[in-house]
């Protein structure tokens, strides 16, 4: 095999990479200094439609899961956090993100500065996952003595029944929450600011989803590590216009890369995708596998969390989402009631809420869309809900003829990852697929 055979595609860094890094850095700097500048500092979860908070004025939103992931990626900081949390009597099999976050709080060490852990003005979120992330926020609320509220939207996951009744119930809670926020902050809510921020939020979710879908091209214009590096812009700045500008630029640049055949991984010959977040302390696994010509084209969870797409189940297709105001039958948001009802309905119909049986169809649709060769599944000790049904998914995928590799680990606890064992297992899987290390064959 010659060098030309191995390096099949041309490659170059993203033109907008530097801009992306600056926007990401600004987001983290806000988390450090925003509160001191008089901005509200609010704790929530990553799936919270936090754009609604813009109606209260300037704010900084710390989502617990991305913070937990940032800590998890740094074992020397992470391990003392988790040990502190466990020493409080909490179980080691609880949410990995939560253990890193709460440990950091109990240690009074803020990851982004090394200084004191911030005190929030209040905590507010939606039901994020069966792991009960609002319960985590309740611990913070008790510990810091701050107000806490939460949107009860468990009903979203039920199939069948009265959809309109559910949407009314959820919309009513958002309205109540705005009144509650005014009370706890002493600020008057500006409906127009909240509406505009959520318009940006919806737009940026749709853009991120579209960007993820563009990785269905061969060769893939972006690799998963680069996507993770840029995802904080969509995850943390979803309500901002500058995020729209950046994500639009990124999307357009990806289209140019596709038209010019520019690859993220010039040796691409085998494409894999995931369902879950990666093991954050072991991201080098993706770079290691590039030595085999393997490119990871995406992960389902971040397609529909910080992103949105539309699944056309009857056609086995997936397409970019439209924003709510562009959807047939959805009213323009003019009032607070419109805002709350739109958010409630949007979340209700979001793929994030899909039933497990529907998810199975979505995984197959995504696999085909991404033109993947295999799925990599993580049996995640750090997230019980994410691991539930994983063997079921594996069997279902294999029944569809999809090769599946699975490894046990933890997305947020480096102590639960046998790095050598994982690489060995992946090598064995790839060998069975006829994929060996490229370096040895050139």
């Amino acid at each position: 095999m010659t060098t030309t055979d191995v390096y099949k595609y041309k490659t170059k860094p993203l033109d907008c990479w530097q801009w992306g890094k600056e926007l990401r850095l600004e987001a983290y700097q806000e988390l450090v200094s925003g509160h001191e500048q008089g901005k509200l500092m609010i704790l929530g979860c990553a799936a919270t439609p936090y754009g609604i908070l813009a109606g209260l004025g300037d704010f900084v939103f710390l989502a617990g899961e991305p913070y937990g992931a940032s800590v998890a990626a740094d074992p020397p900081f992470s391990i003392p956090c988790m040990e502190t949390f466990e020493a409080k009597g909490y179980s080691r099999d609880m949410c990995g993100y939560m253990r890193n976050f709460l440990g950091s709080m109990y240690l009074d060490k803020y990851y982004f500065t090394g200084g004191s852990f911030p005190k929030f003005d209040f905590a507010w979120s939606v039901r994020h996952c069966p792991a009960g992330h609002p319960k985590w926020h309740e611990i913070v609320s008790d510990y810091q003595g701050i107000p806490m509220n939460y949107i009860d939207d468990e009903s979203m996951l039920a199939e069948g029944g009265d959809h309109q009744h559910r949407i009314d119930y959820i919309a009513g809670q958002y309205l109540d929450t705005i009144e509650w926020m005014e009370k706890v902050t002493g600020r008057k809510y500006d409906d127009e600011k909240g509406i505009q921020a959520m318009r940006n939020y919806f737009r940026n979710e749709a853009l991120w989803g579209e960007i993820c879908l563009l990785n269905g091209a061969i060769p893939a214009p972006l690799d998963i590590k680069s996507m993770f590096a840029l995802m904080p812009i969509s995850m943390l700045r979803r309500h901002e216009e500058v995020a729209t500008q950046f994500l639009t630029t990124l999307r357009d640049e990806m289209k140019d890369r596709i038209a010019s055949g520019i690859a993220a991984v010039p040796t691409e010959r085998y494409r894999m995708c995931m369902l879950t977040p990666p093991p954050w302390s072991f991201l080098k696994v993706f770079r290691y596998l590039e030595n085999f010509g393997v490119v990871f084209v995406g992960t389902y969870v971040y397609l529909i969390n910080s992103g949105e797409v539309k699944f056309l189940y009857e056609e086995d297709k997936v397409v970019p989402a439209t924003v709510p105001e562009e959807r047939s039958g959805w009213p323009e948001m003019k009032t607070r009631e419109d805002l709350c009802r739109t958010i409630a309905r949007w979340r209700y119909e979001h793929p994030f809420q899909s039933h497990l049986d529907t998810r199975k169809k979505e995984y197959i649709i995504m696999y085909n869309h991404w033109k993947a060769n295999a799925y990599l599944l993580l049996l995640n000790r750090g997230c019980v809900p994410m691991t539930t049904n994983m063997y079921d998914f594996q069997r279902d995928m294999q029944a569809h003829g999809i090769p599946v590799s699975m490894f046990e680990g933890n997305f947020a606890d480096c102590r639960d990852i046998d790095e050598t064992g994982v690489l060995d297992r992946l090598e064995a899987f790839l060998e069975g697929q006829g994929i060996t290390k490229l370096v040895e064959t050139v």
Binding site: Q398, V404, F407, D418, G421, A428, F429, E431, G432
Partner: protein
């Protein structure tokens, strides 16, 4: 083509020298703390046995846990590939391969060409491996061969409930103090291993024929309980412990 397959196992190093698909020699050496030296010795023994010179070997293929640390190997294949290759060469009808080694157990689904279709491995757990048998033999203060013999004479079930080899040892001590017969305890240990391994292998949709290889395949008690757990007959190839090394040698031609 004369090739050597070196299985760098956790407990022992196995070498097979083959000329095409004809086995010329087999040898084994304890891995110990100097695996490379042990591998050199095992290879030298095999070369001697085969009546050839070291230079006659055109390719050396390593496999096993220590395969990447063998400096004189020309290339390596994973144990999964080696197991599938070796087993289906000896028994082409086999579609499910179970390899129980000293530290690890694997289940492999192979297709008609001997290629790996799927596999499962135990993860950071010695409870389904040879190490567990040895550990329990020590707890019973007998040697492993005696434990196997006793196990086959067992008349009563004495289940071991712990899912961990360490906790199981405590449980065995409790059974001894409860005056449970050694034969029944020995059988319970083997049954626990078979249960764990079978549970892992069932993730693969077991297809006949089923083969058991690796060092623990020489344990007749394990073979007996595995058959019961899987509900099917099990082929144990001759020289089961060397199948992975054979597979590595055969892959030299690929």
């Amino acid at each position: 083509m004369i090739a050597a397959g070196v299985d760098m196992g956790a407990h022992s190093i196995k070498v097979v020298i083959a000329d095409g698909d004809k086995v010329l020699a087999r040898s084994i050496a304890p891995t110990g703390f100097e695996p490379v030296e042990a591998a050199e010795k095992a290879l030298a023994d095999a070369v001697n046995q085969a009546g050839i010179k070291r230079e006659d070997i055109q390719k050396i293929v390593a496999t096993g846990a220590g395969r990447k640390s063998l400096p004189f190997a020309d290339t390596s294949v994973t144990e999964v590939t080696a197991d599938a290759r070796g087993t289906t060469h000896l028994h082409p009808s086999v579609r499910t391969i179970i390899d129980i080694g000293a530290e690890e157990a694997r289940g492999i689904a192979a297709d008609e060409q001997g290629k790996v279709a799927d596999f499962a491995k135990n993860d950071k757990c010695a409870a389904g491996s040879g190490a567990f048998v040895e550990s329990m033999a020590r707890a019973l203060e007998i040697k492993v061969p005696e434990m196997i013999e006793l196990s086959l004479k067992s008349t009563k079930d004495a289940p071991i409930n712990a899912t961990c080899a360490v906790f199981a040892e405590s449980e065995v001590v409790s059974l001894i103090h409860s005056k449970i017969e050694k034969a029944d305890i020995a059988h319970a240990v083997h049954d626990a291993i078979a249960s764990r391994v079978s549970s892992m292998v069932r993730r693969l949709s077991i297809q006949n024929d089923v083969a058991l290889i690796g060092g623990v395949a020489n344990n007749a008690a394990i073979v007996d309980v595995m058959k019961k757990h899987l509900g099917t007959d099990i082929i144990v190839p001759e020289n089961a412990q060397y199948v992975s090394a054979l597979g590595a040698a055969l892959s030299a031609a690929a």
